[in-house]
């Protein structure tokens, strides 16, 4: 039998109608929905008098347009956000979809709660009207973002029209050095292959550095696959994956669990499987990374100097960021630190931030906002006393949501402000019109919050 990649295996096991001139029709095992990209899809369903085919395979939450200062949405605060979230409530009720809405103790960022509740499982096909659906690939699930029309397709048919993508292996061998996180790894990868390097491909992250990562870190890695242009990223499931999932509410239980794990063990690329493209990275060479421009590919080691603006895009980016070629980024003053988003808002991230902030204080002119990925994470962090560390350090400790990653609520930068953000996109205006974003790990963000300047976190380790 011809050796197959992990992606090949998941793809083949979900074909309802094979690809011909027309794309394949593939079956979707889990459809996650949120308030921003679903209302028009439900309207389409109503207009066509269709039902949701598999409400049992559909899960909703509110995360994008909700406030993070409170767990209650008030119409007078933001009428449009209120209407949008209410629409999600009524749509889920009308079509019988389980919803972890605002105020629910399972509410959170859609890509945080799927794994947390155990709905995200190896070998599944998972879609959501959100490009960071790639996050779930950390479990060896084929997970990718779709548009609203496709949300409608999945609601109505539990299927999607898809063409098979290419296989692209990114092997990260060796050991990461102290203070280097999955966020630094993925920023490094994107800086190497570019923001379109993965277009048309599914990335499979492999190698000993990936094996050594816990699930939170693997989610960070897969989360930003889309920033390299790849709709999906994958990590083959292993004991770390199974241990994470065991006992979670929607994970298989009892004998079903043993059966599932036995199946999941086959979910890996066979020896000799052919990838369309492969790159190998030595983990030990990766430094703390930071972005200097206006896409995640414009990232560099934190001690490096801003590169020469050799094209129009780079010139425009540096102008927007008000940075000069040849200038170091270290010690550049910052205004805001944001720790959160579907990239870096899990326990591992919060513990990392706390390890730096413990016994230290956020610099006087800096605003630090820490937003947990879910209500569950908030509770866990508080049980560990992380909230106290954050508040004692002078940081704001918020309710769960997308917050300043997308700036759809009140959490945003003022024009011209610099932020160090653990989120995924440093696009112009992403964190608020005129705001200037530098992407980095939670460790780098926390260290920079303390000094008020771009800081090499290694200065603060073990001190």
């Amino acid at each position: 039998m011809q050796p197959k990649t992990l992606y090949d295996k998941i793809w083949e096991s979900h074909i309802v109608v094979p690809e011909s001139d027309a794309p394949a029709i593939i079956f979707i095992d889990l459809h996650l929905i949120h308030e921003v990209t679903s209302p028009q899809a439900f309207d389409e369903l109503r207009a066509r008098k269709l039902r949701v085919r598999r409400p049992d395979l559909t899960l909703g939450t509110a995360d994008h347009s909700i406030p993070t200062t409170t767990r209650v949405l008030v119409a007078s605060d933001d009428q449009m956000a209120y209407d949008q979230v209410k629409k999600l409530d009524t749509n889920c009720e009308e079509f019988g979809i389980e919803l972890f809405g605002i105020g629910s103790d399972r509410q959170g960022i859609v890509h945080v709660i799927g794994p947390e509740i155990g709905a995200t499982q190896p070998g599944k096909t998972i879609v959501c009207g959100d490009s960071h659906t790639s996050t779930h690939g950390a479990f060896g699930a084929l997970a990718f973002g779709i548009g609203t029309t496709e949300v409608g397709h999945v609601l109505a048919s539990q299927c999607l029209l898809q063409r098979k993508a290419k296989n692209f292996e990114i092997r990260i061998d060796g050991k990461l050095r102290e203070g280097i996180t999955a966020k630094d790894v993925i920023l490094y990868v994107i800086s190497q292959i570019g923001t379109a390097g993965g277009t048309g491909s599914v990335l499979e992250f492999s190698g000993s550095a990936v094996r050594d990562m816990n699930m939170d870190a693997r989610m960070t890695l897969c989360n930003m696959s889309i920033e390299a242009g790849a709709r999906a990223g994958l990590v083959a499931p292993d004991e770390t994956t199974f241990e994470y999932l065991k006992g979670r509410p929607k994970a298989p239980q009892g004998a079903e669990w043993d059966k599932a794990v036995a199946c999941w063990r086959n979910l890996k690329s066979d020896a000799g499987a052919v990838f369309d493209r492969q790159i190998v990275i030595d983990a030990a060479t990766i430094e703390p990374m930071i972005s200097f421009g206006t896409n995640p590919g414009m990232s560099m080691p934190i001690g490096a100097k801003v590169p020469l603006s050799d094209n129009e895009e780079m010139r425009r980016a540096l102008q927007y960021m008000n940075l000069k070629p040849g200038e170091p980024l270290l010690d550049h003053p910052i205004d805001v630190v944001f720790i959160g988003s579907c990239t870096n808002s899990r326990m591992t991230d919060l513990r990392a931030a706390a390890s730096i902030l413990k016994g230290r204080h956020v610099a006087p002119n800096v605003r630090a906002v820490i937003v947990p990925g879910s209500y569950q994470i908030k509770q866990m962090a508080e049980a560990e006393g992380l909230d106290k560390i954050f508040k004692d350090a002078g940081a704001e400790w918020r309710e769960a949501g997308c917050s300043m990653c997308i700036a759809m609520n009140a959490d945003k930068l003022e024009p011209g402000q610099y932020s160090i953000s653990t989120s995924n996109r440093n696009f112009e205006g992403r964190q608020g019109p005129g705001g200037r974003t530098m992407l980095a790990s939670p460790l780098t963000a926390a260290a920079s919050a303390v000094t008020g300047r771009v800081t090499d976190l290694r200065r603060m380790l073990n001190s």
């Binding site: 921003v36 028009q40 973002g145 029309t149 409608g152 029209l161 379109a196 889309i226 896409n295």
Partner: protein, 185 residues
């Protein structure tokens, strides 16, 4: 889906690289729960002079774009905004994956050209920025200023656009196979 076979129109030439969907439509405009009127918010913050400095931009139905156009978020609002602004055809050397899917589903034709053909069109446009271009999907040819540039694309997408095929209807016609797949799990 709206049919599209042939479009003749003046052209916008905006070839910046990596134009992302946040630039096409910033997130703060995504709180609306309908699909219409997003054209007024197109490129709301970026305001590229290549688009807004051009006479009759909203009547121009074709845009020459730069590489990796539409990267970033999956928001279909980006396509709704482009479509509502007036665009029916986008021509580049590459597009982001999710954006391409969203475009097709809204009757917007995506044409991917090799770099040399794309450069030829851009150079010709610079000579004649107010001339009309014809994009013929039936014959798969772009005609502009004496140039006739052939293009290809996958035949299913072409059929969808030419016939205005409804993709959801197409999927639902396979009900038997879907039910059989579900039963076999």
């Amino acid at each position: 889906m709206t049919k599209l076979d042939r479009v003749t129109s003046r052209v916008v030439c905006f070839t910046a690289e990596n134009v992302n969907t946040d630039q096409i439509i910033p997130a703060r405009f995504l709180k609306r729960i309908d699909k219409t009127g997003f054209g007024n918010d197109l490129f709301a913050d970026m305001k590229p002079p290549e688009v807004f400095g051009l006479s009759g931009a909203r009547q121009r139905q074709i845009m020459l774009c730069g590489p990796n156009f539409g990267c970033g978020s999956s928001r279909e609002h980006a396509v709704w905004a482009l479509r509502d602004f007036g665009f029916r055809v986008l021509i580049s050397t590459s597009f982001a994956d999710i954006f391409s899917e969203n475009a097709l589903k809204n009757g917007v034709l995506i044409i991917t050209l090799d770099a040399a053909s794309h450069a030829q069109l851009v150079a010709a446009w610079q000579e004649a920025p107010h001339s009309e271009m014809t994009v013929d999907l039936e014959k798969q040819v772009i005609s502009f200023s004496g140039l006739n540039i052939p293009f290809t694309g996958n035949s299913f997408s072409r059929t969808c656009l030419l016939e205005g095929l409804d993709e959801l209807g197409y999927i639902l016609r396979h009900e038997k196979q879907i039910a059989a797949f579900e039963a076999a799990r």
